[in-house]
Amino acid sequence: MLKVKQEAELTALMDHTAFRAALENAIKGKSANQAPFSMAWAAGKLSRAHLARWAENHYHYVGPFADYLGYVYARMPERYVDAKDFLLANMYEEEIGGDRHTDLLIRFAEACGTTASRVKNPDNMSATTRGLQSWCYAVAMREDPIVAVAGLVVGLESQVPSIYRKQTPTLREKYGFTDEEVEFFDLHIVSDEIHGERGYQIVLEHADTPELQQRCLRICEIGAEMRLLYTTALYRDYVEAELPFTELGLAA
């Protein structure tokens, strides 16, 4: 009897409030804030060299974000005008709405001691970062476009404000970066809040069958897992040998 009730709940169409709460829960359990790299960052325990490796990897994950969205835009049904416009606005803002976001990332990278040329060189990203980038392309090209928005924008991009809100003061206060050097993080607190919220609006409006809602929830979980995997790998690949987990002061 209980199983029948659970299945009925699983297949029932959720209203926007319940669906939004379910999306937020899907992301929450796997938030990248829990990754050791993020925790070491927030605790001020990384070196500038560690942050340089982060920037060299992060460029290849976020650099093609407008490309990912471009594929989704092209495949989004013509009748979803608002959704198409939101995607187009996101692409514009990433690239030419103000300063190009990747230029600001390179500015931070240079302050960490690496070079623009190293940042742009794809040979300097880890295999895991390449996996995250490939997953983003695959989702953009192959998934239902509403599911793709759920994965890329709700599952990944909407996490950014909470991550950077935590990390940005630390960059100034504990690592000694200047305001200009950390502008990449400042701008994302505003722009990704807009982008993430637009993503929620698209998904809430257009995931209009129980099956589509469940697929959106699942891809949010997977997206959050992918980002957590990527962030965890940064710690394993670049930090752990110099800063073992036990020295983070975070172990239970």
Partner: protein
């Protein structure tokens, strides 16, 4: 909730927003003060969201480096960049019809 009075083109638009809201973020997702608020880059560079604080400014944090760089002397006249501000208390704002020139002079 935070009560916002927004003056633009001779009209006053009133709305309530959750505490810690950013009005440019809200306008970006088509919530109040959309479509009345003019904004641009959302990153403190273009100055299009610059607005004068008529009341409630005492509750705002001090202008950040972007506001200081972009608004310059206009800070003395009560101007702030709305993309750089998260509201915690009631506020009354006025935005001029024309976007101010950027560069730190009144």
């Amino acid at each position: 909730m935070v009560r916002v009075l927004f003056h633009r083109d001779g009209a006053v638009h009133e709305g309530e927003v959750a505490a810690e809201s950013n009005l440019v973020v809200r306008a970006g997702v088509k919530h109040f003060p959309y479509p009345h608020l003019r904004y641009g880059c959302g990153m403190g560079k273009c100055g299009k969201c610059a607005s004068r604080v008529l009341s409630g400014g005492e509750h705002l944090p001090a202008p950040n480096w972007k506001e200081q760089k972009l608004l310059g002397e206009r800070l003395e006249l009560g101007f702030r960049l709305l993309c750089q501000i998260w509201l915690t208390h009631d506020i009354e704002l006025q935005q001029d019809s024309a976007a101010p020139a950027v560069g730190g002079t009144a």
